[in-house]
Amino acid sequence: MSHTGKPVPVPDVDSAPFWQGCREHRLLIERCAECGVPRFPPSGMCPHCRSNRVEWLKASGRGKVFSWIVVNHPVPKDIYRLDVPYVVALVELEEGVRMPTNIVGCDPNAIRADMPVEVTFDDVAADLTLPRFKPRSQSEE
């Protein structure tokens, strides 16, 4: 899908490595350098041990569908009219964090809870890559 007119993420100090990773086709997850608990979204401080020490973990890119919706009515209409129906999902990554994304390469009606998925990087603009997910066949594991 074209990204013209659509919301473009504005990276900040906390999120810049995540978006840079996407541009390099690497799914990077922030992790506490003290206690090792990964988190998403990145926040710069660990909510478990309150440490500011951050490191970035390259995620496997594999996960499963936690919940999903099918957008039938485009909002704003002129921007999403050619995209509907499209799927937005919360995907639970193997690393234990959850991430909003799109499920692509799949009939929306075929999506099921816990369906295995894997990341696919979509270079939607010269400086923007979105991490979407597609079905992953069990045999690839």
């Binding site: 919301p7 979204p41 919940s67 995209d83 991430m99």
Partner: protein
């Protein structure tokens, strides 16, 4: 926990017409509803020294209402930057402010041109800073889209069906038919619900609340003062506000929420019932926040009207009808009366407890529940006459 059981009361209520195009400024709507609440209570305007409200950047500050009403000295004019989750919180806060000596008679209001002005449900701005950078770029933008994710999770975990959601829409509409204030008064059937167009699966159009222009207001004062005023006081028995861990970076964000199959309600239930000294079985009428049909189910479960996962079955077979075991959204709710961000539920609860709800009156209603919120945080009141 709220420890002011029965010490404060709602002594006056006011509201404007609920329309799709008010032709008035939001300030004017707020002033009309607030003025009428003070007149309804029967106190002198000069005695009002507090104003509490909430808004989403779509309304007027409380000081503007104090100014417009000509209050001589607003000692406590504040507002919450919040969604419907604060609709009961403002009443709780008004009472707490009086208890602390910050004010004596406090107006609570919500005013909005939610259809002709800023349309909350029509999509947030496309600014993708902060938490929104992780949601909006994927086309996850509107509140119906946000809450459909929760609803789906409930369906995944418990097998809740669209027909069960539809029962709530039909019930609300049946009540709205009797309500002269309601925006939607044409009866609907479950078949109409099922045939209404899909907006964002699993939501049909009729799972989604209205967009409205209008305002509602209530005057909160001490129980002692309320007893001397025009109407039978409606006492605040119990009150609670909050949610669980990971309420998120804003109202939309629930990325880290434990499980979207349940919402804030389960986290405030203990405080609410313990503070009120009664339980779900004592509720005569329930005005449950229904921005979407599903949110009713999660709140019924979370507040203990039924067990988790059983909310879909609970609402069926007439149980939530006006003459059922738990009369629910007797005005038609946000789904069919109007979307005044939940504060119209408070107005209706007061009418029911005064016995002035006309043809939609629940006989001998003595204790009412109002709730506000659908996702990670919310508020609730237990009111009695």
């Amino acid at each position: 926990m709220w420890n002011l059981r029965d010490k404060y009361a709602i002594a006056g209520i006011g509201h404007t017409d609920f329309t799709a195009n008010s032709g008035a400024t939001v300030l004017n709507l707020a002033l009309q509803a607030c003025r009428d609440a003070v007149l309804d209570a029967g106190i002198d305007m000069s005695e009002v020294d507090g104003v509490v409200s909430f808004n989403f950047g779509d309304s007027v500050p409380s000081i503007a209402v104090a100014t417009g009403l000509g209050l001589p000295a607003a000692r406590y004019a504040v507002e919450f930057s919040s969604g419907g989750n604060a609709a009961n919180l403002i009443v709780q806060t008004a009472a707490a402010a009086i208890e602390a000596g910050l004010a004596t008679n406090v107006l609570c209001f919500r005013a909005m041109n939610g259809r002709s002005g800023f349309r909350l449900g029509g999509g947030r701005d496309l600014n993708s800073r902060g938490i929104t950078q992780y949601t909006a770029p994927f086309g996850w933008i509107t509140y119906p889209q946000a809450m459909a994710m929760w609803c789906r999770r409930h369906m995944i975990k418990y097998g809740t069906t669209s027909e069960q959601l539809g029962t709530i829409a039909v019930t609300c509409r049946r009540n709205a038919v009797l309500n002269e204030r309601a925006m939607m008064r044409a009866p609907i059937t479950l078949a109409d619900h099922q045939a209404s167009r899909m907006i964002v699966e699993p939501f049909h159009l009729l799972d989604i609340c209205l967009e409205s222009d209008g305002a509602c207001a209530a005057l909160v004062t001490s129980a002692g003062r309320a007893k001397d005023l025009r109407h039978k006081p409606v006492y605040v028995m119990g009150a609670a506000y909050g949610g669980g861990p990971n309420q998120g970076d804003d109202l939309f964000d629930a990325i880290r929420w434990p499980d979207h199959a349940h919402n804030y309600a389960k986290y405030i239930a203990d405080d609410l019932w313990r503070s009120a000294g009664v339980g779900p079985e004592d509720i005569d009428v329930a005005e449950i926040y229904d921005c979407f049909t599903y949110s009713v189910i999660m709140q019924l479960e979370g507040l203990g009207f039924c067990r988790e996962g059983e909310g879909g079955a609970f609402v069926q077979n007439g149980r939530i009808d006006r003459d059922g075991e738990l009369p629910l959204n007797t005005h038609g709710g946000l789904l069919s009366e109007a979307y005044i961000h939940g504060f119209n539920h408070v107005i209706e609860a007061v009418e029911q407890l005064r016995g002035t709800a006309g043809s939609r009156q629940v006989p001998d209603a003595q204790i009412a529940l109002t709730t506000a919120g659908a996702m990670t945080c919310g508020s609730a009141l237990v009111l009695r006459n």
